[in-house]
Point group: C2
Chain length 220, copies 2
């Protein structure tokens, strides 16, 4: 098996799209989500992101990264103005519509309408959810961070509401994502389904980890 | 299909491990990596993380989150002191060893040795790589951010070196992660392999996205 080594100098010399595809692939399988927002006039916006990350459970915090490109700033501006946004997991059956939201639509165009996904409002929440998504999360903005290294911005929100099919909730709180048909992204444009290998127990020093069973119930 | 709604109040009322399992599941499939470091005395450390995220390609930046728990601060301290660390993708064939690194080992114990993974040094890089990993990345610290909302810390590094089997590099720069046997994590403890659905072309307004072919070559 031929091993390839790539140096910092090699990376700098790459054509920019080639480099973007390579570096975007380095972080492995990434979560696939659509961010739903509305501006102060009620204009809806929907944007695909692969950078949603867990910051903590108490308080329940999720964040994501917004690239500094002008055309993709509608999501950022809407959240900074209204403070509300939704994270909607991408299911296998609407991958192409979700990917299509990455086109550079004008600000007065709703990506919901253009790509054929359905905005839905629930529990008086100020931002639109994606009706087709099996895992819908409503958040309120808690923190806005500018990354000095490249002027990228990160938004962190606190979870206000979660909506999902009850069957995916395991007795111990874990969600079985395979029952939700959720996909992952690799690189810029590759979409994947997942197959569980196993759940493993809490690790302790000098004790091998074993596949998880809780109170006689197999969680794998 | 019974739909479950969970409010902020419901989340606050949850038992803490139940809440941690649920909230950790919300971000979908997460990248599975081991962070390799060494302290100034040469003591090696290895820690599993599911929060590696892409910050930008030029310069090539990846970051991850370190929780504020005392026992897991060795990685953070080592990086703040030495400025170097490695990100090593977790392959299917060493999931259990990788998971075992999350046990609370004392600072003078090397997780490499305890779990049975092999430290390797290449290209005079100051931090240890995981020999068993099919995708090894060496980084230098660029930015250290404290998240005010919960005192979590984020470290961002610039990629200095990448090492992987050449067969995984597609002609356009994209990495085919399935050829590397890389896995993803969901929740706190669930490990998954992935199956590609498809790669999609660059999205443009008013033009449907199609599975990707480049110069007559099918990239799917």
């Amino acid at each position: 098996m031929t091993q390839k080594k790539i140096s910092h100098k090699d990376i700098q010399a790459m054509e920019s799209r080639y480099r973007a595809r390579l570096i975007n692939s380095l972080s492995g399988y990434k979560s696939a989500n659509l961010i739903g927002t509305r501006d102060e006039q009620g204009q809806e916006n929907l944007a695909i992101v692969s950078s949603v990350v867990h910051f903590g459970s108490n308080p329940p915090l999720l964040g994501f990264i917004v690239r500094p490109r002008k055309s993709r700033r509608h999501t950022l501006e809407n959240i900074l103005h209204t403070h509300y946004f939704t994270i909607n997991a991408i299911n296998r059956d609407f991958i192409q519509q979700a990917h299509q939201t990455s086109a550079r639509y004008a600000k007065d165009i709703s990506e919901f309408e253009s790509v054929g996904l359905t905005p839905c409002y629930q529990d008086n929440f100020a931002a639109p959810f994606v009706l087709e998504s099996n895992l819908r999360i409503g958040l309120v903005l808690k923190e806005h961070i500018i990354i000095n290294s490249n002027q990228t911005e990160m938004l962190i929100g606190e979870v206000q509401t979660i909506s999902l099919p009850e069957k995916a909730m395991m007795p111990d709180g874990h969600l079985d994502l395979s029952l939700l048909d959720i996909v992952s992204i690799s690189g810029l444009d590759s979409y994947h389904t997942a197959q569980k290998v196993h759940r493993l127990g809490h690790a302790k020093p000098d004790q091998p980890v074993l596949p998880l069973t809780v109170e006689g119930k197999n969680f794998n």
